[in-house]
Symmetry: C2
Subunit: 203 residues, 2 copies
């Protein structure tokens, strides 16, 4: 039942045994299903092991701890989001005009950040829980689209200004404390994009 550790060859990825790969897929699948059906709070290492039909030790060896498991789930979700931006169908993907892509990006990011809010908190106790790599991807994409739209100004800071209201603590506050409707937040973001893209009117 145990997976023997192979000595890694320097500079070469360790080959994954076929049953280990199967275990990993089963675990990720079981964990994602549990999160979807019961919420992040209810997902324990025990529950994942049971749902995937593997020993508890396998889950711990694979993810280290609960935060590690949540971080991996987040990585998978982030990878899927990035793929749909890079090569998915329009309006999020490349076959749409830049303004439509930007609007679609905001809606998709807002929705996925809200959906992953509990996962983000469970994955890390740090500031926002989102990795700098994930932020960097979204920042690069928004900068690119602002450039395509011919926006003048400090594009890096304007991109951050568009991304900042989509951060999880702000969305959670709007939805959970101020009881704002998600469609209202989306509409507000689209209005913000309109103002940022139009540029300041000099009287």
């Amino acid at each position: 039942m145990t997976e023997p550790e192979l000595l890694p060859i320097l500079g070469q990825p360790v080959p994954e045994r076929r049953d280990a790969a199967r275990n990993r897929d089963a675990l990720m699948c079981a964990a994602a299903r549990l999160v979807d059906s019961c919420g992040v709070e209810a997902v324990t290492m025990d529950a994942v092991a049971e749902a995937a039909g593997v020993g508890k030790g396998t889950v711990f060896r694979r993810f280290g701890n609960r935060a590690g498991l949540m971080a991996r789930l987040l990585d998978e979700s982030e990878a899927a989001f990035q793929a749909s931006v890079i090569s998915g169908p329009p309006p999020l993907g490349p076959d749409a005009p830049p303004y439509e892509r930007l609007i679609a990006f905001g809606r998709a990011r807002l929705t996925s950040n809200l959906a992953n809010a509990d996962l983000l908190l469970a994955a890390s106790g740090a500031d926002t829980g989102r990795s700098y790599a994930a932020y960097s991807f979204t920042a690069t994409h928004v900068r690119y689209l602002l450039g395509q739209l011919g926006v003048r100004g400090d594009i890096a800071l304007l991109a951050t200004a568009l991304l900042a209201p989509l951060e999880v603590p702000i969305l959670r506050q709007q939805v959970n404390i101020e009881q704002m409707d998600v469609e209202r937040i989306v509409a507000g973001w689209e209005d913000l994009v309109g103002r940022v893209v139009s540029g300041p009117v000099t009287p």
Copy 2:
């Protein structure tokens, strides 16, 4: 040396003994001085007790723990900030036109958030560490100024859009990771205000 606990009278504030008030002032003063000179990291309950010339037990009774002490320091800083917005000199205070007040607010908030970044993290492990009451004050102020400027749209969401880039995790990332100059961030925020206040240009 111990401060006897008085039974509180329901609905009445417990009168503070004169030596307890002196202790509190001495402790807050010593803690603030230590933070200024050595940084948040270096400030321990022991160091504060020694600097204020009181017993360690007094510091723990007063603040509970280190996070409690940091939260109190933050409260004092927040109260001073709010006072300067409500009744301080222009351009932050009321004797300035709304646009100048808004620009002054952004600069002051950005500076104080950066200065208090370590305090915010030490005071709490939660999302941003800032209380909803503190957020609520700044949101109300920015909404009021946008109203004074005749800005049309969803004022609550536009105020949040202006406040979001001033949140500590974003500022820390810009300054510590992306090595951005603070003056550049301030200028970027002023440009954002110009765009938000101008409104979207309908072609």
